[in-house]
């Protein structure tokens, strides 16, 4: 289904800079909080945001609306680049995992009720560790001291539940 977002990306692919500015105004306010949630530092988040939109401009010709909305295209890209950033930081500092800032997460949840909060705690936890902290399933199992199979199951059930919730209230 053609949407405004997909139209904008198509115009960007044709070299339309005006369309890029509109595209930025439309999606930057959505992906910026996500990037900030992941990298935590505003300056880092601004860097990542710029990188993400620059790549969107570059990769616009490769976008295929049949494979997903422009919003999902940008959110996936933003999440990936933000995780790249924190993984690079982790490698440099040689700490295995920066402790998940429970304070921020809790304060966040206090003010922003997201669909994640409607998941059972064990499922919400693995999804947050994977999606926002960038841990792989093996790292999550080590961190939670749970069998890998348990973590895989929780991830699958949690994501299925999230999809149901999102379908119910798009």
């Amino acid at each position: 289904m053609p949407t405004i977002g997909a139209d904008l990306v198509r115009q960007m692919a044709a070299g339309d800079r005006e369309a890029f500015a509109v595209f930025y105004d439309r999606y930057a306010p959505v992906v910026f909080p996500l990037i900030l949630r992941i990298v935590r530092e505003r300056a880092d988040a601004s860097d990542v945001l710029q990188e993400v939109f620059w790549e969107a401009w570059r990769d616009a010709p490769a976008y295929d609306a049949a494979r997903g909305s422009a919003e999902a295209w940008m959110v996936t890209r933003a999440r990936t680049r933000a995780i790249d950033r924190i993984r690079a930081t982790r490698r440099r500092s040689e700490t295995f995992v920066a402790p998940l800032d429970d304070g921020i997460a809790a304060a966040d949840r206090g003010t922003v009720m997201t669909a994640l909060d409607r998941l059972p705690e064990a499922q919400r936890e693995v999804i947050e560790l994977a999606y926002y902290a960038g841990l792989t399933q093996t790292e999550i199992a080590e961190r939670l001291k749970q069998p890998l199979g348990t973590v895989k199951t929780r991830i699958r059930l949690g994501l299925e539940r999230l999809r149901e919730v999102m379908k119910a209230s798009p």
Binding site: E18, P33, W57, S69, V75, Y131
Partner: protein
């Protein structure tokens, strides 16, 4: 191998959490063209995008957009077809805003509505801001032109400088007229209160019996104002310059209180 294990792998893959042999296995499976897994990944990506949108939108630092637009302007449009020439960006952007608002109406969820409403508000704010900047820029250009012309006029030996003094309720008000008998001149005032709504200051040149109107002007927030004075018809000498407070459009004969006046010139 049944398909069921891949559904578990697809979930971890969608979250970027798949690693090791599982990841190799799943990527091979995808490469073989599994439509069910493709669809599952698409659905997960859309759900995660909806999750991202359910957070309150946050305006990033303006420097990010400025830098992106600067980088964009610095790149020649190589490798891209030139933008179609017949586009009308403004009309199209307005269309987008309208469509966005319409879309909000159709989806009807509080999340989408709130977000789209903010987008609409942002678009309106930025349009208003742009209009304001343009207005202020025009005013500034006008002021700069007046000062530049006044400076040029001062170099003419025939130009004279006349001091205006505050009267009545504004003894602190001051003014200067740079006057050329043939070319006219400029008046600069300071420490005048902003004229009340619907009112403006009007300058008068007095040579013969009746004062001649010489234009209306306003002062800015700091009490300053500058105004070009047209030459007096016939080049008649001006003996007194005066400023009164009148209705915005100006009047033919002074009616309001006099706020500034010069000493009589000979």
């Amino acid at each position: 191998m049944s398909h069921e294990p891949y559904e578990t792998l697809a979930a971890a893959y969608a979250l970027g959490a798949l690693d090791g042999q599982d990841r190799l296995d799943f990527e091979r499976h995808l490469a073989e063209g599994c439509e069910a897994c493709e669809a599952s990944l698409r659905e997960s990506a859309e759900a995660l995008a909806t999750l991202a949108r359910s957070r309150p939108p946050m305006i990033p630092p303006p420097a990010v957009k400025q830098e992106l637009l600067r980088r964009l302007a610095a790149t020649a449009p190589t490798g891209r077809a030139a933008a179609p020439p017949a586009r009308r960006p403004l009309v199209w952007a307005v269309g987008t805003v309208v469509a966005v608002i319409a879309a909000a109406g159709f989806t009807g969820t509080w999340v989408a509505t709130r977000y789209e409403a903010q987008l609409g508000a942002m678009a309106r704010e930025s349009a208003a801001l742009r209009a304001r900047v343009e207005r202020e820029e025009a005013v500034l250009r006008e002021q700069v032109a007046i000062y530049r012309n006044a400076a040029d006029l001062l170099r003419d030996p025939a130009a004279q400088v006349v001091t205006l003094r505050g009267l009545g309720p504004n003894p602190g008000a001051t003014g200067r007229v740079i006057w050329h008998p043939v070319n006219g001149g400029y008046v600069f005032v300071a420490n005048l209160p902003a004229a009340p709504p619907g009112k403006a200051y009007e300058l008068w040149t007095i040579g013969g019996a009746a004062p001649e109107p010489a234009g209306v002007f306003q002062v800015d927030a700091s009490g300053r104002g500058a105004h070009r004075i047209a030459p007096v018809a016939g080049g008649k000498p001006v003996k007194v310059f005066a400023v009164t407070l009148e209705t915005e459009a100006g009047v033919a004969q002074p009616q309001g209180p006099m706020v500034l006046a010069s000493a009589k010139q000979d």
